[in-house]
Amino acid sequence: MNLAYYPGCALHGSSNDYEQSLRACLGALDVQLKELDDWICCGATAAHSLNQKLAVALPARNLALAESKGFHEVLAPCPMCSMQLLKARKELAENEALRRSVSEIVELEVRGEAKVLNLIQLFESIGLDKLKAAVKVPLSSLNAACYYGCLLTRPPEVVEFDDFEQPRSMEKILETLGGKTVDWNYRTECCGAGMTMANEQTVLDLSHKILTNAKKHGANCLVVACPMCHVNLDMKQPNIEQHYGVKHAMPIYYLSDVVGLALGFEPEGLGVDRHFVPGVARSADLQVSTPDAGRKAGAVGKA
């Protein structure tokens, strides 16, 4: 499978561990990613709060780059990016005048027809059967809380992905990999997102609630598919622990981390060793071997 890859700012910057793990496991699944040449910012929250046309033009140019190379599908692993691309795509499809005007602005013929996939959708299109067949290390001691955050399923009329209040798609993937998932309450809550820069307290409050609830429901790790969520839950976890005087010690994995581990990659090959909260030391630790393997799957590793 060949598809265009739009990393967005995070995967080349603060979350390059995410890129490392998704490149590793997609490579093992015969998926060739072609990074868009000369891609630009998706606009994120900044563009649409300033200028509606800019908010369409930025992602539209990225879509046009993919289309000009003949790609019909673009992988955007960051939910903010994929939402912005999808929003632009929807607006372009509904407004021919806008499409013409944006084409002129970005100096490229924008069709806005390329499909935009998030990471979960990519695994779905690879096929859960194929994924299952490729598993080398079933994640039998994994008891994951799948965390979708706010953007992966919203706004529903734009992203049209899964049940936007009660999503199940990530759980299905983990169960395919031999893991267990917990039924918990904060799967689509906000982690605080960009407030991490402006008002850290908000992030500490919200992310603390998420971590507490996941733990209470028996999770030994959180699985995310968003770089921003990872920053707030992983990087900020020591701050949360300090602020609330608790010890969460909750490893936060990218979805591609756990897929990679199941495919037999070691944590170093996936960038898991670069997380702030330590994850597993070896992929084999994710298999039940001892009665307290659940604990092992979590915080065991280099402290």
């Binding site: 049940d163 209040e165 009660q166 309450n185 609830n213």
Partner: protein, 666 residues
């Protein structure tokens, strides 16, 4: 040559202000076939009608054209005027020079010219009118009422008390419908069962009412005045004629833990059971899906105990035929069962409320059973999970109603009121408890309704929040309800012991199939369609079939009862004569030219065209032909449009008439 009289009305100033009536009269008088043309200020008034009658006599008119308002308004008026003067009423035509002309055009000269043209059309049509006679069909003065809820009961009793027989078909083992399960009713807090069960008994004992409980309508044929209905009596395994309702069987039945349908699974019932003690008929039914005797020839204790020998494990469905002249459909509603597999994907949302997942999140009908003195808790308020008394209850309005994104766009109408009632009754039972209500708007239109809601808030201290709930989760045995208060502009989180959802009302299961059997229309949500929302609210597109209650739209008990009486009165009008008179403007097939392709039979939305044979008087087969059943045809003209051999035509609106009308214009 025709002798047509044209009568031009001023409609006060409505027409005369924009149309030069004198000029129109002058021009129209010159049309071929027109014997006389006159105008008058109010043609529909008594002097106006007298003028029409006098002219028919003095000018020996053979047709009349009245140029005035819409035929919907006054065609009947002028037809009866013509009739009084001895003219066949179907030789009266109207030209609508008010709605189609004077009201919509500002320019007098142009409007006058258009009025002349409109009259020209009607004159051309009138030239080719011929005499028609109303169709008469015999009437079986016996009614079918489908559904034994409060609406069906009201309609059946009204008809039966007028002296006509009623056949009532109820799908469940007992009549009573949703109302039998309610606790108290708004806005008076009457005990629901106290006001309904006497009516149920009346139905059960009425000499004119034949009750088929645990039965469904299987098939229907015929037409207004003459329906043949096939009813499926589902196997009950108990002969209700032999059974005395003593109760030995359900007391002895060992399989006591089956979710009770009547209690919406809030309580349990045995495998042989009466749905509730006041059931009509008060006779048990065996649940074949759980009975050990039926499933694997075990048990059989009830059979041994039954002194009346009423139990028959070999019972099977029976089909019976009934002949009726009119039908009342009163099949009621169900609640939108959120969070489950749905009949349409769009409705699969609302999983975030945890209904079906958390035991203490229940719907409003379940809450009614918890409040009811006849309910599984004998009226004591206990929450389902552990039987504890809930000290904090959150009520959610508009669950699935008024929600275009993932629910149903319409308002379910009764939820604001019953939620106020729930909050009130809760406080009456749990004095130290707190009721919280999330609402979008409070819609309390009705006698005493607004006052009732104010009482819930002001006297019984219900806390109302204008806003919706985003999510319900469970933590440490408490339900965490997170919503928003849009008036205060802040998020609200409530730790509740129980949550009650006011789920949207949807039409009962199977109503679409039933509607198809009777050729009754339904909207995209399955609610049955009345033939006019204002002026024909209980009639349907199918003559002789009437609707009432929540199968037509969400409505409360008083409205359902009022509508049921309205439907009953329509049935009684149908029964007021031994013959029905119908307008003769229906389709007719020329059997000489019909090629028997039966395209019309398939196209007819009323199933009014039959496949027939033409035979000599001695019975020798000549040919096959399509034939219109005058009892069923509604005169829509679809067959005329589809007939490839031009053998179908509409009486009083023939193709020839239409062609000559068009020709007169070009």
């Amino acid at each position: 040559m025709s002798r047509i009289g044209v009568f031009i009305c001023w409609c006060g100033e409505n027409i005369a202000r924009t149309v030069d009536v004198d000029e129109v009269t002058r021009q129209v008088a010159e049309f071929p076939g027109v014997r006389c043309a006159v105008n008058y200020k109010y043609m529909c008034s008594d002097p106006g009608q007298t003028m029409v009658r006098d002219k028919i006599a003095s000018e020996r008119l053979d047709s009349v054209v009245v140029a005035s308002c819409s035929p919907h308004m006054h065609l009947r008026t002028f037809r009866s005027a013509a009739s009084l003067a001895g003219l066949n009423p179907y030789r009266v035509e109207m030209a609508n020079i008010r709605e189609h002309c004077s009201w919509v055009h500002p320019n007098k000269a142009q409007a006058t010219a258009k009025a002349v043209q409109l009259i020209r059309l009607s004159v051309e049509k009138a030239r080719r009118d011929h005499e028609l006679e109303p169709i008469r069909v015999p009437v079986t003065r016996r009614a079918l009422v489908i559904g034994g809820g409060v609406a069906g009961i009201q309609a059946a009793l009204d008809i039966a008390n007028s002296g006509y027989e009623v056949v009532m078909v109820e799908r469940e083992p007992s009549i009573g419908g949703k109302m039998a399960g309610l606790s108290e009713t708004f806005p008076t807090l009457d005990c629901s069962q106290c006001i309904l069960t006497p009516r149920m008994v009346e139905v059960g004992q009425h000499p004119k009412i034949k009750l088929y409980s645990y039965s469904e309508v299987e098939a229907v044929s015929g037409y207004v005045g003459n329906f043949n209905v096939t009813i499926r009596q589902k196997a009950r395994y108990v002969d209700i004629k032999k059974c005395t309702g003593c109760g030995e069987c359900w007391n002895v039945c060992p399989l006591k833990r089956n979710p009770s349908e009547f209690d919406y699974a809030m309580g349990m019932r045995p495998a042989i059971y009466v749905p509730f003690p006041q059931a009509v008929p008060a006779r048990p039914v065996i649940d074949a899906k759980v009975c050990a005797k039926i499933l694997r020839n075990g048990c059989g204790l009830c059979l041994k105990k039954c002194k009346a020998e009423a139990i028959n494990f070999k019972d099977q469905d029976k089909l019976v035929e009934e002949k009726v002249g009119a039908v009342v459909i009163a099949t009621g509603y169900k609640l939108y069962n959120i969070g489950k597999v749905q009949d349409r994907p769009k409705l699969e949302g609302y999983g975030e409320y945890g209904y079906g997942k958390y035991k203490n999140v229940i719907d409003s009908l379940q809450f009614e059973r918890l409040l009811s003195a006849s309910g599984p808790t004998v009226g004591e308020l206990k929450r389902p999970s552990d039987g504890a008394q809930p000290k904090s209850v959150v009520f959610l309005c508009c669950v699935g109603s008024r929600d275009n994104a993932k629910g149903l766009p319409y308002c379910s109408k009764i939820c604001c009121m019953y939620t106020a009632k729930h909050a009130m009754l809760y406080k009456h039972k749990v004095h130290d408890g707190q009721a919280h209500v999330f609402y979008m708007d409070i819609r309390a239109g009705g006698k005493g309704y607004e006052e009732f809601v104010r009482r819930a808030i002001e006297q019984d201290g219900a806390q109302y929040y204008r806003g919706r709930v985003s999510k319900i989760t469970e933590e440490n045995g408490k339900l965490i309800v997170r919503g928003t208060d849009t008036l205060a502009g802040e998020p609200v989180t409530i730790e509740a012991d129980m949550v009650v959802l006011a789920n949207a009302m949807r039409p009962a299961d199977g109503v679409e199939q039933l509607a198809q059997k009777f050729n009754v229309g339904y909207d995209e949500y399955g609610f049955l369609l009345e033939s006019h929302p204002k002026l024909r609210p209980v009639e349907t597109a199918s003559a002789g079939v009437y609707i009432c209650g929540a199968c037509q739209a969400p409505k409360d008990i008083p409205e359902s009862v009022a509508q049921a009486s309205a439907a009953a009165s329509k049935v009684l009008i149908t029964f007021s004569a031994s013959e029905l008179t119908r307008e003769p403007e229906i389709a007719k097939v020329n059997e000489d030219t019909c090629a028997a392709c039966f395209t019309c039979t398939h196209a007819c939305p009323y199933h009014a065209i039959e496949q027939a044979e033409v035979r000599t008087p001695r019975g020798v087969f000549i040919k096959r032909t399509a034939r219109v059943n005058p009892g069923l045809c509604m005169g829509c003209g679809t067959c005329v449009a589809v007939c490839p051999s031009k053998s179908a035509d509409l009486e009083g609106f023939t193709e020839q008439q239409i062609y000559s009308m068009v020709e007169s214009l070009v």
